[in-house]
Subunit: 534 residues, 2 copies
């Protein structure tokens, strides 16, 4: 038995602070109260504050970091429960490969839970989500919800009704992704069974989601760091509202290095004057209840895992000590042991085309207006335009387009795309082909022709090694993209979402150049008949 | 489509009131907001307040009323979701008989949910709760939790670990019954997996349960009307606490006739100055979330059942109109249609013994101190003592004792006992035998020898007919018991619990006269060898 002695404990259930000792046996809390623990294994926490580990209910563990290396920043931050998206691991490795990853992550110094998607992020991969396979994944004990449904238009048309019913059958929540949905659409989405949303970008949008019955995650990500204005606008109802949570939604490595994870959200809440207890509830018991984990996590009470943060003061959110299942796993911002090494199943090989043929004549050009939003401009292609191509990893098809205000380079290629294909950009077809070939040789990654390159050998998205390796790649990518004229704030997500069919206005997809809002294919893909380069 | 137009809607999610119309299709809410409904089926609620139907999370539908007749008082009160204990129906009719009752109650003008017990109310019936049968019942869609475990001492010793694990496996809550448990015991019970409790009788006890992670029902029953003092004591934390609910815990008919059901609890909260929104949350979204029903019930939001109360003002809790699944089912305190008629499966026959032999000499006498609590007094039996006997319904065994300060009568018998046996009391063995025989002839009920009697033909507990029939029997029983010297406030529960092995101090049980706290059998049962009376 281990005793935490002399501290003040957060009672997130009644919203009060209590002087109490905590007894722990077998990794679980067995007692909270005034009794003196009968043990020599005492952790003296006099003057300190004992709070539940923070919960990140929604993240994508593949933004250069891996499900494992992400823990190097999450756990010292006090974020000890993470709900991971299964998307790419399922698509790349199938249900058995995913299961092996889930098993290995069960050994992590954190509680790793998963969502089971009922649909892909891009509509074209939806076929992979066989309803029976999804239903079986929804029964896994590690699976706590169904993953976000990006195609909310499809939800309102009943496309995902079977998957939604399967999730409800398993008594698990259905995460939505209702970006930009109008108030009337939000009504339809709630009526269709969407349980939660993390896509509000204003306080009004967040309030509407709550009001219409959705559990609402307030997002502070690298792409959309909207927490502060949302919390300001929600000030009148933060005290009385339930069902508010924080999420960082798969931010880039530098964001986590600078801000931590849920701790960063808590710091913003505290800076805005939200009381530490109310903020803490949003980071602990509210997501635990949302996820049906509140008998396991989210509070300092008997029966729960002894997954606790020791703070110097309420509102000083960076823990001095982090316990997971009763073991000290981080101290003063440093993880004490290594997270698990995942034996990655091999992902698909990347095959680069030997040549690129530039588009000419009048074309729908994707003119970028922000890191992830572009507008369609129909005009004649100029010789100095940047050609863009999405190429099937098997090298059999290519979708060609033209983009503007994004990157000014002779040739660049990457596998870091949300459709798991090869994205190639540039003004010089030969340079494009060389960059693509370099990426194929590395087994995924980034390559500027004749310049910087970095491998992403895991699924074409994830760096081998630890979190610092991912961070270094992001730093280099940002530097090199800015050097090539990239004008926005999130190079990684710009690349990832260039093929995402859920953002306006023009996207490169396996079906061709897609106008997203009208779901119109402006130009189909071509078949690649030439023998691929070796 | 039906539209509720012009009202102010309770948004229990953010804790605010909103002017909004409500659209309903197929019994579900499809829209809440400013839009004008495009329908002729308008219900004008201008100046009125639209709130979710109230939820009673814990009740025992057999206190003279039936699962059906109870709705005559519940629904007009606005209590439209009731969680029913399956105990006696399972014990009397088995899993198939229970299933038939559940099916029939699905046609009720209310949402009838059930708990599946993992143990009986009295330890001796526990054998009936085969773990595999229980696990199958826990999967029923109507079953929203496992039922209260009265024997909390057994819980702390791990006796019910298998059943608790089965409920958790089914992602359903485990209700406790932690009456009188000390703070240290409450820690053990929470650690053992108990999710909830309804047995606090002071504010401190309620706060301790919350703090230790249990969802806490504040009880206002006929036996224990403790809500007002508890709410007074909890005033400092009612605003910040989550997981507070109300329950009436199977009160007697006259209590419901006078107070309604959850509406009565809300009125007490309002009288104490608790804001209408906070009180409403305790009656709606909090129990819905506890039960995992919050995507179906507990809020006025799309996707939920259109089960709504229309109030003249917040705090005026008696609804002018009650809708269940979009249909108006009650108006101004009156149910509009008849609740379902249950085709009761036949229960066990009652066999009365032909004779009673009084105890003599030194005996452990049960001296009643309140309606349900007695103390052991060892003394010589006097000729004018009231003999008590619990007789197996099959007439093969008898447990004999002596009680004091309870009822002064020559002979009285009833089947209204928590062990489903026949309880016989009196000073005159012949009168006792006649009363017992009268009850057996009626197929269950109450009988004073040569005096008032009333049949309880359904399981020996429930009156045929409607709620008024149950109310009349209770009124007569009270009058007759008071006439016979009964000195307390709850005659029905005094009888029910005379054989309950979970209350101090001396009880008549099938195993004999039991001293509850020490679990000692003071005097075993006798076998009845005489031929029973026809």
């Amino acid at each position: 038995m281990v005793g935490l002695v002399g501290g003040t404990v957060a009672d997130v259930y009644t919203g009060t602070w209590v002087e109490a000792n905590v007894e722990i046996e077998g990794g679980r809390i067995t007692y909270v109260g005034p009794r003196e623990p009968s043990t020599d294994a005492r952790i003296e926490v006099g003057g300190k504050f004992v709070v539940p580990g923070y919960i990140e209910p929604h993240t994508h563990p593949w933004c250069l970091y891996s499900p494992s290396s992400l823990l190097e920043v999450a756990v010292p931050d006090g974020t000890t429960t993470l709900v991971y998206d299964n998307l790419f691991f399922f698509l790349s490795h199938g249900v058995d490969g995913l299961r092996a990853i889930v098993d290995q992550m069960n050994a992590a110094p954190a509680h790793i839970k998963w969502v089971a998607r009922i649909a892909a992020q891009t509509a074209l991969a939806d076929d992979a989500f066989d309803p029976e396979v999804v239903a079986s994944m929804l029964e896994w004990p590690e699976v706590v919800a169904s993953g976000e449904i990006t195609n909310w238009f499809g939800v309102t048309r009943g496309v995902f009704a079977r998957g939604i019913a399967a999730a409800k059958q398993a008594r698990k929540r259905i995460e939505g992704h209702n970006a930009g949905a109008s108030y009337n659409r939000l009504n339809e989405l709630s009526a269709a069974g969407i349980s939660a949303d993390h896509e509000a970008i204003t306080g009004d949008e967040a309030r509407d989601r709550l009001r219409l019955g959705m559990w609402t995650m307030l997002r502070q990500s690298s792409l959309r760091p909207d927490l502060e204005p949302m919390l300001r606008a929600l000030a009148p109802i933060v005290g009385s509202a339930r069902r508010l949570m924080f999420t960082t939604d798969g931010a880039v490595p530098s964001f986590y290095a600078a801000n931590g994870m849920i701790g960063g959200c808590l710091r913003i809440a505290s800076d805005l004057g939200i009381g530490p207890m109310r903020a803490l509830q949003m980071a602990t018991i509210d997501p635990a209840t949302f996820l049906g984990l509140d008998e396991e996590l989210g509070g300092v009470a008997p029966g729960r895992h002894a997954t606790l943060n020791v703070l110097s003061a309420p509102g000083e959110w960076r823990p001095e000590l982090v316990l997971v299942k009763g073991e000290i796993v981080a101290r003063d911002g440093a993880l004490l042991g290594a997270p698990p090494t995942i034996a990655w199943p091999s992902g698909p090989r990347v095959t680069a085309p030997a040549t690129f043929t530039p588009l000419t004549g009048r074309q729908p050009v994707a003119r970028y207006e922000s890191a992830v939003i572009n507008r369609r401009v129909d005009r004649e292609v100029r010789p100095d335009d940047v050609q863009a191509a999405l190429v099937g990893r098997d090298g059999t098809w290519i979708t060609r387009g033209v983009i503007e205000n994004f990157l000014d380079t002779p040739g660049f290629a990457t596998t870091a795309t949300t459709s798991l294909e090869l994205l190639v950009l540039g003004k010089d077809p030969a340079a494009m082909a060389r960059a693509a070939r370099r990426v194929a040789e590395m087994g995924g990654g980034f390559a500027f022709d004749g310049g910087w390159s970095a491998p992403l050998e895991i699924d074409g998205l994830i760096a081998r090694g630890g979190f610092q390796d991912a961070l270094a790649i992001e730093r280099d990518l940002t530097r090199e993209m800015q050097r090539a004229g990239y004008p926005f704030h999130d190079p990684l997500y710009s690349l990832l979402f260039a093929s995402g069919d859920f953002l306006p206005e023009v996207r490169l997809t396996p079906r061709g150049v897609l106008e997203v809002k009208t779901r119109t294919v402006l130009k189909g893909p071509s078949r690649i008949d030439t023998v691929p380069a070796p």
